[in-house]
């Protein structure tokens, strides 16, 4: 008798037999409730590898997340810095507007708008040693040479020396080339004493050519006169700081302290008409 397994067989028969066996096996496995048992074996074998894969994946994910977070934080930081810059610029602008507003209020309280037509300007650069400042108004704003610059407190600052398109250079009254008529108002007798203001540089002024007979005192106010035609009458120049009296001199002189302070002055007015 020949062994069944050693006999030459038909390919189709073998295939059919294998298929039947597989189907039977699957039916038995599913019917006999062995599926949970098989799954348990599968998961017991798989769990260590799955754990390793999961842990590795989580670590890698955490690492990549951190890199993404760093990038995101860096981007966020840049955005916040940019926003901060914008806010700082806004604060600076608001402060500037506040200062302008205060200057205008002061000017209005002094009634400057009734006496003069003026435009407001800001000091953008200053050089007290040469006695000049630069303001942010120029030919496009209608500024012309010789126009007078005053502070919001109606104190004389200087006059326009050179006009550019958007800027102008102002020659201060303390400039060494400045010389103009002024009068000292004696507070005691309300008499005005004529003299000539001369710039000394570095924000220093003197008033010269005051007659020896006249009496002036420290603290007396010095104002402009209209004799020379350079400035309108009544603008404040400064106050007498120290008197240099000498019997041998034909005239007495006095140091005048200007009423404007470039250290705090930001806004000025250009008188464009009366």
């Amino acid at each position: 008798m020949t062994n069944y397994w050693l006999r030459p067989r038909n390919k189709t028969k073998t295939f059919a037999l294998a298929a039947i066996l597989i189907v039977l096996f699957l039916i038995i496995v599913n019917l006999r409730d062995t599926r949970p048992y098989l799954q348990n074996i599968f998961f017991t074998a798989s769990t260590p590898i799955e754990k390793i894969l999961l842990k590795t994946g989580q670590k890698l994910k955490s690492f990549t997340d951190r890199i993404i977070e760093i990038n995101s934080a860096s981007r966020q930081n840049k955005d916040l810095q940019s926003e901060n810059q914008i806010l700082k610029a806004r604060i600076a602008r608001l402060k500037s507007l506040e200062t302008e507003n205060e200057s205008l209020r002061m000017a209005l309280s002094l009634g400057l708008e009734k006496e003069f037509q003026f435009i407001m300007a800001e000091i953008v650069s200053q050089n007290p040693s040469t006695g000049t400042i630069i303001i942010n108004r120029g030919a496009t704003d209608g500024v012309t040479e010789g126009q007078i610059i005053i502070s919001p407190q109606k104190a004389l600052i200087g006059k326009i020396d050179q006009v550019f398109r958007d800027f102008s250079r102002v020659i201060l009254i303390s400039n060494k080339n400045m010389s103009f008529d002024a009068s000292v108002i004696n507070a005691a007798n309300e008499k005005s004493v004529k003299g000539v203001i001369k710039g000394q540089g570095n924000l220093n002024l003197i008033i010269d050519l005051i007659s020896q007979e006249e009496t002036i005192a420290p603290g007396n106010l010095v104002t402009t006169t209209s004799f020379s035609g350079q400035f309108p009458k009544g603008l404040l120049i400064g106050e007498i700081a120290k008197i240099n009296f000498s019997d041998v001199q034909p005239f007495q002189t006095a140091q005048v302290k200007p009423l404007f302070d470039l250290a705090v002055l930001g806004t000025v007015f250009i008188i464009i008409g009366q």
Partner: protein, 100 residues
């Protein structure tokens, strides 16, 4: 031996897609790596080789166990699919990268 290595690769692909790639959230955008691997084996092996069919059947059974389906559900589908591909490929597709 070769079939064991192929089965291990298929198994590794299956659990790594579920446990490793899913952590990154890219699993859903990827095709089933095991099926792709089985298909590659079927297409690249010589016509006479039956490794692809065995790999498909066993991979299907692993899927059943892994996904909690009735045993043989994916197994038979994969097996039938692999045989069909083999038959069709043998007759109509000329793709023999490796010839023994």
């Amino acid at each position: 031996m070769k079939i064991v290595i192929l089965l291990l690769i298929a198994y590794f692909l299956m659990i790594s897609q579920a446990n490793f790639l899913s952590v990154f959230g890219i699993s859903r955008y990827l095709p089933n790596m095991t099926i792709v691997f089985v298909l590659l084996v079927i297409f690249l092996e010589p016509d006479q080789s039956r490794k692809g069919i065995i790999l498909a059947g066993v991979s299907g059974l692993l899927f059943d166990l892994f996904l909690g389906k009735p045993v043989g559900f994916y197994g038979l589908i994969f097996l039938a699919g692999a045989i069909l591909i083999k038959l069709v490929a043998k007759k109509h597709i000329w793709l023999k990268i490796k010839e023994k």
